[in-house]
Symmetry: C2
Subunit: 408 residues, 2 copies
């Protein structure tokens, strides 16, 4: 199995700086790279040659010349490598292949039961991944990593789920070891909400340094981007919005003394329970979504109230972290405008004006492939941000690259 | 005035990487620097020469040799430059001089009234700073920057206070322009709580990547370090714990329907008001501190209850950010163990086990000079982390450096 720890701890040196510079898509001449990085001509030359040899960058047209032979421009080649991304939910799984820009090239979705346990589920994911890689026609050496999202808490540094409530049999299961044996590349694992936050941040809000993504469905969780970086906290448990304690308060429709956490007040199942109290037949998030879509008055009201309760917790977070964007996702948010309207109501009422004057509270743009896109972006960021990780790329890939370094 | 914006936005290139490497105090040979940075021999040589020329690094004994002349080790010289730090409170001001390790070399404290306005207060700070610099015997070129902490919200990017409640006349006052005219170096300004968080993080918890500092005195505020970086948020208002809304709850001693923010429940003046309700003569934080120190039962109980209320808000933050350390500071925390005992009570009860199992909740180690130390560290981090900032150091300093680059 490939040593995962090297990905996280390696110092960004060598080719990394140049790769980072080129990742924005702007083609550059060697002189421009020298000027921007301050590296010497010989260092730039050697490193660009290494990157060309790896096939990660290649010639991209010519720059305007001051006379003589025009200097060649070099550009990042996002199609030079691929990523395998696995998004596991409670009742579904999606496996996809992306390029280094996170663009989804192919994917397969299936119904599955996460409670069937890691062996069965990862067998399916491995087999599906192998099929997609075969269908892509790409050599094995083109795969730089596997990203996995799971519906429960994960110790990101080891890739193991930790006491995941809806994943029986998965506690501390070594997902990277299992998938590393199958694919022989680094494997990164995180919870589904962090994965969605990464994807939403990278694709929809790349310039927002401070963003909070909230998922409201069977559970409630958040992914926190602060200072441009997804924050996982000291033990990787950051973003646990669902277990924030919400005391009973006079504005609430709950009975007094009914102290609970946010998930048991405002999640899909919690709303369904409140609907049953009112004689409406509802058991899961899907029932709530269906009722909202059919305009059921009780469901509309209760989803909005859930949004207010979530907004009250987010208001504290707005004061604490001063994000510029709050993105609300998950099945309950996709049912309609009620949830986000409730969120906006309390956030704008309860947060300080300086923190809300430029705050956007928006619905997630993500669809059912957002999970695989986010999982791929986790891998791309980890691998491209960490230059030494390129030592991990099997050396055979170098020989399969065409001498011109062109896109294959 | 020196362009402040260059400090924040300059790309870390050139000498910065080597300076960062040497800042941990470990002397290194040129070969070690080449190996760690991946830079070429000629680049390392040129950059080390630049740093020696600037007097920031110098020879530091010799490394064990494999034969022949032993290679020279190079070390960071923290005494090569100085920082002027100004800590302004509601009723006091401290001005200090530190070296590049943040060690306080000299300081002066005086009673002052922040409400006297920026002209009077900054005149005093300028005059006091000039006296300290004169007394230090250091040439003007040795000063690399001025750091300022003020008791109110600041737009960090411009260094201007924004609607500071206890600083009449200071709203949007251009502190960097005023002090830049006097000292001709970059001037960085932040609120007192961020300054204390930076100082506490750098001096007491340098290895904690996720730390929350809470100050409880006349107001309540937090400084949030996430992923190793002080988080200021999109508009610089992050850390506003005092305005987090705390609904009435059954466990509270407040009358029902008494909705308020945390500051009006648990700050020094709020505790004093509750004491007056109980017939105890108390008006300000200082009175509460005195009563606690004399063992007044009502004061002890109310401070502990304030700690519980603060802990309830911190519990949400623990779930959200999973810090490894919460540091509680400010005058009310220094009065005794009651505040932190109350904080611990609710944080450990209400946060998820994964987030609290390795969480330390500790009292601040800071004393009355913590503000100037933190303000100096803000400047040191900004200047040393940003290599291009060295273009800002007046070139005259190069000629005043001794040829051996030794510590002056």
């Amino acid at each position: 199995m490939v040593e995962l720890s090297r990905l996280g701890s390696a110092r960004a040196t060598g080719v990394g700086e140049i790769l980072q510079l080129l990742r924005d898509g702007t083609p550059r001449t060697r002189s421009e790279i020298m000027e921007i990085t301050g590296l010497s001509r010989s260092t730039v030359s050697a490193r660009v040659d290494t990157l060309v040899g790896l096939g990660l960058v290649g010639p991209a047209g010519e720059a305007a010349s001051s006379g003589g032979r025009p200097p060649a421009r070099i550009a990042f080649l996002p199609s030079s490598r691929i990523v395998l991304a696995i998004d596991l939910g409670a009742t579904h799984g999606t496996v996809g292949v992306t390029n280094l820009a996170g663009t989804l090239l192919d994917h397969t979705t299936a119904q599955l039961d996460i409670a069937a346990g890691p062996e069965a589920v990862l067998d399916w994911a491995t087999e599906t991944g192998r099929e997609l890689l075969r269908a892509s026609g790409r050599p094995a050496g083109d795969l730089i990593g596997v990203g996995v999202g799971v519906p429960g808490p994960v110790e990101h540094s080891t890739g193991r789920p930790v006491n995941p409530p809806i994943m029986p049999g998965w506690d501390r299961f070594d997902i990277p070891a299992r998938l590393g044996r199958a694919f022989d590349v680094p494997v990164l694992v995180d919870n589904d909400v962090n994965i969605l936050a990464l994807g939403e941040h990278a694709t929809a809000w790349p310039d927002a340094d401070d963003l909070v993504f909230v998922k409201v469905s069977t559970g409630i969780g958040a992914g926190v981007v602060a200072g441009g970086t997804l924050q996982r906290g000291a033990q990787g448990s950051a973003g646990d919005l669902g277990h924030v304690h919400v005391p009973w308060h006079p504005g609430s429709t709950r009975p007094a003394d009914d102290d609970r956490d946010l998930e048991s007040i405002a999640s899909g199942p919690a709303i369904a329970a409140l609907l049953r109290d009112r004689g409406v037949d509802a058991h899961a998030s899907a029932d709530v979504v269906a009722l909202v879509r059919h305009g059921n008055r009780e469901a509309l009201d209760l989803v909005r109230e859930a949004g207010r309760e979530i907004g009250a917790v987010l208001a504290s977070i707005v004061n604490l972290l001063n994000p510029s964007v709050i993105v609300v996702g998950g099945s309950i948010s996709r049912a309609g405008e009620q949830l986000i309207a409730g969120v906006r109501e309390t956030v704008y009422r309860r947060s300080i004006p300086l923190a809300t004057q430029h705050l956007s509270i928006v619905q997630s743009r993500s669809d059912e492939t957002a999970g695989v896109t986010g999982a791929a972006i986790m891998v791309i960021q980890a691998v491209l941000d960490t230059a030494d990780a390129w030592d991990l790329v099997p050396s055979s890939t170098i020989t399969t690259t065409s001498p011109t370094g062109g896109q294959r």
